[in-house]
Amino acid sequence: MSKTRTYLFTITFTSIISLTILAGINFRFLFYESIFSYQKLYRYQLKKIQINQINTSSEILFVGDSSLGNAVDANLFTKLSHRKTLNLALTGSYGYAGSFNMVRRALQDLKIHQVFVVHTLDILQRPTSYEGYLYTMLYPNDISHLTTGEVFNLGNSFLNIIFSGSNLEKIWNSYQSKNVSDSIREDLKANDYVVQNSKKKASLHLDPIQGSLNKDEFRFLVKLNNLCKKSKVKLIYVHGPIAMVVRQSSQSYIQEVNQELAKRGISYIPDVIEIKPQNLGDEIDHVAPKAKPIYTHRYFQLLKSYL
């Protein structure tokens, strides 16, 4: 073999081997194992669907992100509304796509009458949640719910995930702290959601939410809306709670989001519940654990006329 061919062969061979190892590690730990808290949360929520399938039907379903998970206690909401309520909140990184897949699974296995989708205000300033769709896919044919362009973008996201070098460090750190990960399971059972970081408190000096909306993200919310219509289930979009000072200074942003929701025929509640400084948790959209019952009551008051 000539020197040039050896050179080209060496580049090809070492690159393929290195990339295969990288992809293999990422694929194993990000799709199969549950070493991150958000993965444990997702499996916990999935299990809830199975448990409720065996026991009773759930009339009211909440889906969304951590702003919902920290604000609404499903058991308390059940008592207030006299209707069985299930809270399948994930995290913000799953986006509307994650909520779409959770509702799709819930509708397959449970008798749902009403769905409330609750997401934090700045969800529309994040990238379109193809990663969220990937992480919440159970079967390969879950891509049948997507258009060709969306499948292409999903494929691109998949490559981003499995070839990402930055995931290796996160995987290593999480794998090292296995004892901590066991306690996450216990916390989920006790709290019905991931426990907040008690050492962290959201800053009180907060900027308003502003800037352009990622309108592409609405594609999954529209799919969710159409899915509910087809299943004759009522869907209402509700804004997640946000720190008082942010809500007051972000009125034009909130208005813009509401206009986009209306444009797409999605039923929504225009009000945004504000979190007072004494009730603020570890993020600007997280209710402190001690205030969760208060905000469950507040959400009940907000939603009772829609039940």
Partner: protein, 517 residues
């Protein structure tokens, strides 16, 4: 489609190259050329279908016009030169109008609104990718056609020259003669291992410059300039850290893109000209413009500076022509006063440099001074300093922002120089009230990157020198001159490692800076 994307690396490039060489076996050159054209159009349409319509229309228009200019005898027998001039003027006007419409109309509206207190609405057109580049290519082609140089009769070849995907979006601005002649060379239709291997190598080196170096540096430069835009305090160290990071980022980003374009062309046995030749090693501004964005400098020289008169009409005219060329060169980079100021600044630098040169010819003492090693080191430092100051305007969004950065760079923000000169003159210092000024925007690891890469751009060989024909030792320069590139296992593993690191960071890669131009 971007060079630094999965679809390009894993699908487009392997398909384009393998089908090209399979079609070369048909021994009919037009077939693989048509495939290259189709691939280039697919590459361009990936971003936006409208962009494709625009580039094809532009190509068809300019091709048709060049035929009319060249074959004017068919239409008019009298006043041929006058009609040729009219057609050329018409062609240049249409081409420049196209750039003006997409790139400068909002700048004009903004200035009219400011000057006359009107409220004309902005057009807010999305800038078609590569418009500045493919329009300049075709203007050069029309001018050369007017000058009775050979024209391309085949529309497919002409369109391929315009849309050839390695150079379509951000150059190099290749001369039509250089590219069209190669399409007729039978040697390019044979798979050549060495060209393929060198092409892949140069491409990966360019990709590494962009993803591993430029994108890392952008974290520091963007933080500093964002801080300036929001009115945050900017200290002396942060100002220098930010602008040095940007100086390096711009070089690695753009030269990385050029390397990728050159490497990709090499895979197809096509040669593209060098676009960067270690510009930060320049000992004067004249040398800098022979090393930075070489193809643009050549274009501005051949199609703007020389037609204006160049240096043929005396010294004063020469300086005026230089200034006009640099102002328009600045404006080409962006629709904003900061770009014009940057161009004007470089125009001043060039004039001063020419003045100095003429003085050094006239006075023996100066000639002796400039021949010393100390002077060489000083002139390199001074040139680099002047370039960095210019980049402040180039990068800043507004004139106010550039002045803020410059004030911080020269210590008028938190270093009270005045107290050492006139203790009473406290008014020169503007110490911040907040304690936050002690938190640096550019951290220690940022300075590690900046200093290391400054040493690289000042002393290491560039990509072209490194991968120069490895049997030609004269072409390699710098500290690594003994470490010549070769097709060895050592280099293969190194290049492979760079490729894997680039792919591992593709998800966080940003757009190329010159896409905005």
């Amino acid at each position: 489609m971007l060079f630094n994307s999965y679809i390009f690396l894993f699908l487009f490039l392997p398909c384009a190259a393998s089908v090209f060489f399979i079609l070369c076996r048909t021994e009919k050159p037009q077939i693989p050329l048509r495939w290259l054209l189709l691939s280039s159009l697919i590459f361009y349409v990936w971003s936006n279908t409208f962009n494709l319509i625009l580039v094809l229309t532009s190509s068809f228009f300019n091709y048709g016009l060049s035929i009319c200019i060249n074959d004017l005898d068919i239409f008019w027998k009298n006043n041929k030169k006058l009609y040729k001039k009219i057609l050329l003027f018409f062609g240049i006007s249409i081409n420049t109008s196209l750039i003006f419409y997409y790139k400068y109309i909002d700048f004009l509206i903004q200035n009219i609104n400011s000057l006359f207190n009107t409220e004309l609405p902005f057009q807010s057109h999305e800038l078609p990718l590569g418009i500045s580049f493919f329009t300049f290519l075709q203007i050069a082609y029309l001018v050369d056609t007017y000058r009775d140089q050979e024209t391309e009769k085949n529309w497919f070849n002409y369109t391929l020259f315009v849309t050839f995907f390695p150079h379509l979006i951000a150059g190099p601005i290749v001369h039509h003669r250089a590219l069209l002649r190669q399409f007729r060379d039978p040697e390019i239709y044979q798979f050549q291992e060495d060209n393929f291997a060198i092409g892949i190598t140069i491409f990966i080196l360019g990709l590494s410059k962009k993803i591993l170096l430029a994108d890392n540096l952008s974290l520091y430069s963007n933080s500093v300039f964002k801080a300036v835009t929001v009115g945050q305090y900017l200290g002396f160290l942060d100002a220098w850290g930010g602008i040095l990071a940007y100086t390096l980022q711009l070089y690695f980003d753009f030269s990385g893109y050029s390397d990728m374009a050159i490497g990709l062309s090499k895979i197809f046995n096509i040669w593209l000209p060098e676009n960067f030749n270690s510009p930060y090693k320049s000992a004067n501004i004249i040398e800098f413009w022979r090393r930075w964005h070489i193809t643009l400098s050549n274009f501005l020289r051949d199609y703007l500076y020389i037609p204006l008169g160049g240096n043929r009409k005396g010294t004063k005219h020469r300086y005026v022509n230089l200034m006009i060329t640099m102002l328009l060169g600045g404006l080409w980079h962006g629709a904003g006063w900061t770009f014009i100021i940057w161009g004007g600044l470089h125009g001043c630098y060039l004039i001063l440099n020419h003045l100095w040169r003429s003085m050094s010819h006239s006075y023996l003492q100066i000639r002796l001074l400039v021949s010393t090693q100390i002077w060489y080191v000083f002139s390199r430092a001074l040139t680099f300093f002047a370039i960095v100051v210019g980049w402040v305007f180039f990068r800043s969004k507004t004139l106010n922002d550039s002045l803020t950065v410059l004030k911080s760079m020269f210590g008028f923000q938190n270093i009270c120089w005045s107290k050492y000169i006139l203790p009473q003159s406290k008014w020169i210092c503007s110490m911040p009230e907040s304690k936050d000024f002690m938190k640096y925007i550019v951290p220690i690891e940022g300075w590690f990157w900046i200093i290391s890469l400054l040493l690289v751009v000042w002393f290491a060989p560039n990509t072209q020198k490194l991968t120069a024909p490895f049997y030609d030792s004269k072409n390699c320069e710098g500290l690594l001159s003994k470490q010549k590139f070769s097709f060895s296992i050592f280099w293969a593993i190194g290049i492979s490692a760079m490729l894997v690191m680039c792919i591992a960071r593709l998800s966080s890669a940003s757009d190329f800076l010159y896409f905005a131009f």
